[in-house]
C-alpha cells in the first residue's frame, strides 16, 4: 500500500466523518481540529478497514499518542509492514 493512497483515504475520512476543514499534514490534531481520544478510537475502526485486519491491544494503545496526520500515516505504514512480514 502506497503512502499516497493511505493519505488520500485518511484525508477523505477526516473531512467526511470528522468534519475537518483543510487539514494540514503536520497540524496538531487536538489543538487545531479538536480531535480527541474518542475520535482516535473511531479512527482506529476506519484504519482497521483500510488495513483489512484487526489491530492488537498494543497497536491500539500506541495510536493514542498520535498527534498529526503524518503520525497517522507513519503508524499505518509501520503496522502494515509488520503484518506483511
Amino acid at each position: 500500500m502506497q503512502r499516497e493512497d493511505i493519505k488520500r483515504q485518511i484525508l477523505t475520512i477526516l473531512e467526511d466523518s470528522f468534519e475537518f476543514e483543510n487539514p494540514g499534514l503536520n497540524d496538531n490534531l487536538r489543538d487545531e481540529h479538536g480531535f480527541d481520544s474518542i475520535d482516535a478510537i473511531e479512527l482506529l475502526g476506519e484504519i482497521e478497514k483500510i488495513l483489512g485486519f484487526s489491530l492488537t491491544r498494543a497497536e491500539k494503545e500506541k495510536a493514542m499518542t498520535i498527534r498529526t496526520i503524518n503520525d497517522i500515516l507513519d503508524y499505518i505504514e509501520v503496522i502494515a509492514s509488520e503484518h506483511s512480514r
Binding site: S37, I38, I41, E42, G45, E61, M64
Partner: protein
C-alpha cells in the same frame, strides 16, 4: 465546645450519618453482593451497574428521610429511558448518584483520577464506566468501552454524561464538551436531555456539610428527546450539541 443547639450541629450529624452509610453501609450491606457478582455473575458489568443503582437508591432514600425540608420531584419517565445517551447539567456531587439511582443499566464517564482510588475505582472499572481521559494505565479500558458502547446501547443500556465536565452552579449551563455528542453519533443513539435543579442547595460545591436547614425542592426533568436520522441525514457533532443547548434554553 460544641453547641448542640446550633443548627449547624444538625447538619454535622446528618452529614456524619450519610457518610457513615456511604462507607459503612457499602461494606456492611453491599460488599458481599459485589463479591458474589464479581465471582459468579455471567455479566459482571450489568450486575455491578445494578448494584450501584441499588446502593445509590438506598443512600438517597436515607438522605430523603434525614432531610425532610428538601422535597424531591423526579420525572418518572426517566426510569423508562433505554438505549440512549443521557446528557444532564451538573450542579452537585449528588447528581450522578441521583441519575444512577433512577437507571438500573447505565454506564457513565468519570474523571480518570477516581479510577485510581481503592474500592471505588474497582467498582467503576467492573461496572464498565469510562475514564474521561486516556491516562496511560486506563488507555485500553477506554478503547474497549467505547468500542463496545454501540452494542451496549443497542441492548438497552444507557450512557450518562455530564457534558459540562464539572459542577457548575452559576444558574446557566456551561460550555459542553463534545464527547457526549461524538459518542451518540458514533453509536447512532438517541440523546435524552435531563435538567437537574437545586441538588446544590442540599450538597453545595466546596462545602463539606449537607445543608439540612433550607426549604428546597430538588427536581429532575426530562426536557428533551433528540432522535436524529443517522442513516439518511446524519447530523454533525456541532448540530447535536446545538440541539441539546436549545433543549436547555427552551425546556
Amino acid at each position: 465546645m460544641v453547641n448542640i443547639f446550633s443548627p449547624m450541629f444538625f447538619d454535622f450529624i446528618v452529614t456524619a450519618v450519610l457518610w457513615f452509610y456511604f462507607i459503612g453501609g457499602f461494606f456492611l450491606f453491599f460488599l458481599l453482593f459485589y463479591l458474589l457478582a464479581y465471582t459468579l455473575s455471567r455479566n459482571r458489568e450489568l450486575s455491578f451497574q445494578y448494584l450501584n443503582h441499588l446502593f445509590y437508591k438506598s443512600f438517597l432514600r436515607l438522605t430523603k428521610l434525614l432531610v425532610p425540608k428538601h422535597s424531591w420531584q423526579i420525572d418518572q419517565d426517566i426510569t423508562k429511558i433505554r438505549s440512549s445517551v443521557i446528557v444532564c447539567n451538573h450542579v452537585s456531587y449528588l447528581d450522578p448518584l441521583i441519575i444512577i439511582s433512577l437507571l438500573a443499566h447505565h454506564k457513565t464517564i468519570v474523571k480518570t483520577r477516581f479510577f485510581h482510588m481503592p474500592v471505588f475505582g474497582w467498582l467503576m472499572k467492573n461496572a464498565g464506566y469510562l475514564p474521561s481521559s486516556t491516562d496511560k494505565k486506563f488507555t485500553f479500558l477506554m478503547i474497549k468501552q467505547v468500542e463496545r458502547m454501540k452494542e451496549y446501547l443497542l441492548k438497552g443500556g444507557n450512557l450518562i454524561i455530564f457534558p459540562e465536565g464539572t459542577r457548575n452552579n452559576t444558574g446557566n449551563t456551561g460550555e459542553f464538551n463534545k464527547g457526549a455528542f461524538k459518542i451518540a453519533r458514533l453509536c447512532q443513539a438517541p440523546i435524552k436531555v435531563l435538567r437537574i435543579c437545586n441538588s446544590d442547595k442540599l450538597f453545595t460545591p466546596g462545602k463539606f456539610l449537607f445543608n439540612t436547614r433550607v426549604r428546597n425542592k430538588i427536581t429532575v426533568e426530562l426536557i428533551g428527546s433528540i432522535e436524529p436520522d443517522y442513516l439518511h441525514a446524519p447530523p454533525t457533532v456541532a448540530e447535536l450539541r446545538n440541539l441539546v443547548q436549545k433543549a436547555f434554553a427552551t425546556g
